[in-house]
């Protein structure tokens, strides 16, 4: 079960400078696009349960979900990113994100993997992005499954709330 190199890498983290620091990102897919959410921002991943729609809310708010007795607001980030609506499939997951206003369920098409990324490998966001996207994108990086955009999920959600 254990791997030497992995152990070593994990062991090195506290001693190394910030350049060598490893950060973990949960890779989620919207369609075919891969986005990363820092693991420390997430609480858990769950399969989509019974989602109750709330009339009169914003279009990206899918509704409310009862997770182990806790009521979560589920958001369809694809609508926020202008990527169309998310449909529920076998692979669909809800990533519960910790925010300043409590946990929020992010609806995504698939959870790909957890990626260990060196801080230096994270590149600043592309200058060609629109201002809206620029706010919610922290940068991007290369992974074994392709290019991954790193989302600042709190800013994204906050921006929406501000606009609304």
């Amino acid at each position: 079960m254990t791997d030497g190199s992995k152990n070593h890498a994990v062991a090195d983290v506290p001693q190394g400078n910030t350049e060598e620091e490893i950060r973990q990102f949960i890779g989620i897919r919207f369609g075919t696009e891969l986005y990363g959410i820092p693991i420390e921002k997430t609480r858990e991943i769950t399969k989509p349960l019974q989602i109750t729609g709330i009339p009169g809310t914003l279009p990206h708010v899918k509704g409310l979900m009862n997770l182990h007795g806790e009521i979560l607001c589920v958001v369809d980030v694809k609508i926020l990113l202008n990527m169309g609506k998310t449909l529920v499939t076998e692979k669909s997951r809800i990533v519960v994100v910790k925010t300043g206003e409590g946990p929020v369920g992010i609806f995504c098409d698939e959870v790909a993997d957890i990626y260990d990324i060196l801080t230096k490998d994270i590149e600043p966001p592309l200058s060609t992005l629109s201002k809206e996207m620029d706010v919610s994108m922290k940068g991007q990086t290369q992974t074994r499954d392709g290019l991954m955009g790193i989302l600042d999920i709190e800013k994204l959600l906050m921006k929406q709330e501000e606009e609304s």
Binding site: D3, V10, Q24, I26, E40, V111, I114
Partner: protein, 677 residues
Amino acid sequence: MRDVYESLIIPLSIIVILNVALFILIKARVLQRLSLSKNLIAVLLAVTLIPVICIVVVNERKISSILFTEICEKLVSVGRTRALFIEATLEEVKLDTESIAKNWIVMEVLRQISLEKTSKTDPNFSTTVKNAQGHLNRIATTKGYDDIMLISAEGKIELTSTEHSAEVGFDVSSDDYFKQGKEKTYFTDLFYNKFANNNLMYVVTPCIDAQGRFVGCVIVEVGMRRLYNVLADREGLEETGETYIVNREKLMVSESRFLKDTVLRVKVDTLGVNEGLSGKSGVAIYPDYRNVPVFGSWHPVKYTNWVLLAELDEAEAFAPVGINRLYQIVLVAGAIVMVVIVAIFSARATVRPVHGLIAVSEYIGKGDFSHDITIQSYDEIGKLIKVFQYMVENLRLLIKQTQESISRISSVSVEMLSSSEEQASGSAELAASVGEITATIEELSSSAKQVAVNAESVAKIAGDSELTGNQGKESISESIHIMEEIKETTKDSMKKVASFSEKSQKIGDVLSMIREIASETHLLALNASIEASSAGEYGKRFSVVAAEVRRLAERTKTYAEEIKNVVSEIQASTGAAVLSIEQSVKNVDKGVGVIRGAGQAIDSNLELIEKTSGASRQIVMATQQQRSATEQVAATMKEIAEVVKQSSIGLKQFTVAIADLNKLADEFKEMVGKYKT
């Protein structure tokens, strides 16, 4: 009126009469005996010349008459003028004589001599006489008299104007003129005076004194010279005109223009003289003293017994007529020539087409139609020529067509001949072929017999086939049975395959479950990683384990996927096996159907064989009928042969007839061929 009659009506009636005569000639077809050209010339000449000649004649007559009148007038005028002149001259002489007689000296002289008997030698008287003589001499000289003589009452010549005249003392009392002159003034005729040695005339007048006594006479001798001067004047008398005077004795008193020394020598006894001597004046044509016909006018001269004649030769007078006549003759001759020329040309122009027509007609008479008339003419003859030409062309065409038709008939008859000959030979061939057909039909009859035999044998063979067919039917029902067994076995194996398919379906279900579990495991592993991360440094080892679990779950998922694929393939091939088995079941069913069909086919085959057997029996019957029909045909063919024979004879006769026709056509062709086109 007479003039109109002469110069208009008569010529006109003559023209009419002559033209009527011409018309009658034409009507009587007298002229038609001449040729057309001569006829034309004659008619043209007649028509032209009749009026021309009439006009010429009338004209000439008219001219002659006018000329005659003119000449008459001229002669009368000349004669009258001259006569008057002579009379005037004589009158003057008379007046002179009478004035002399009244002169007082003359009277005194004569009174002294006659009454007083005074001698001329008396000295008192001689002066008077001398004066008287001077007076007389003066008068005679001035007036141009030859002499003036005074005669006493006794009739003696007492005094003359010329001195010492021989005549003085000459007694003339016995002379006629003295006797006449005692009474009144008297003119003597012209006579020869021996004293004067000349022809003279005396004018005697009595001298009467105041008391009325006759004292003597005065005689004036008049020479003819002054008269001759008048008469010799030839003005208005042309070449041959003359005026002369003839006395009572019909002797010429004046000189002739033609003869010499005529005075009182030449006697003129002509119509004019005689008429004139009877005291008439007039004009006429008569032969003159030369016995030449002349125009003459005669005028008696007062105081004398003379006749003055003015004459002009008729020849000269009518010379203009003669010249005119000549001109007219030339004109008429010219007209005749022109008319003849024109008539000849016209006749030729008229006749030439006719000659052409005649020439072509002669050719046509000989049967030669190849000549055309090419003369252009627009009159009736031209029309005739056109019509004739049209007729000739039509005849030519007709002959040509006839010739062509005949040659065509000829060739056709030749063809007919040959074809009828061919037909004759053909009919012979036909007869031969009829014979052959008859033979063939007999053969057909015998072969029909053969057919009947063969048909019987067919019927027999059909019976054999029926038997064999029944055997085939049995073996087919056996094979159907075997096929049913095959079908059963196949259905069984199909069921087995279907159960295998069901089992593999279950494997698939299990695999789905495994996948589900793997997925759950993966999710759990993820959450474990999250938990580990939130545990911080202590959770790192757990994080590694969680990652391993996650990978395991993923691999499981992959394997399950692979197995699922294999099972799917198995399921697919099982489905194919099921399908193929079903197909083989269907094929077996089809095979059974086919074998059953074969059984039915054998059944129907049997029926066919039965039908064949029946049909062959019918064939036998039909063949028999055919045989009898064939015999009838043979009989008919014999009849045909007979007919062919007869037609062959007919054809021979036909051939002979066509040969005759051909000969006839040749003759006709030769006959028509004589015509040239």
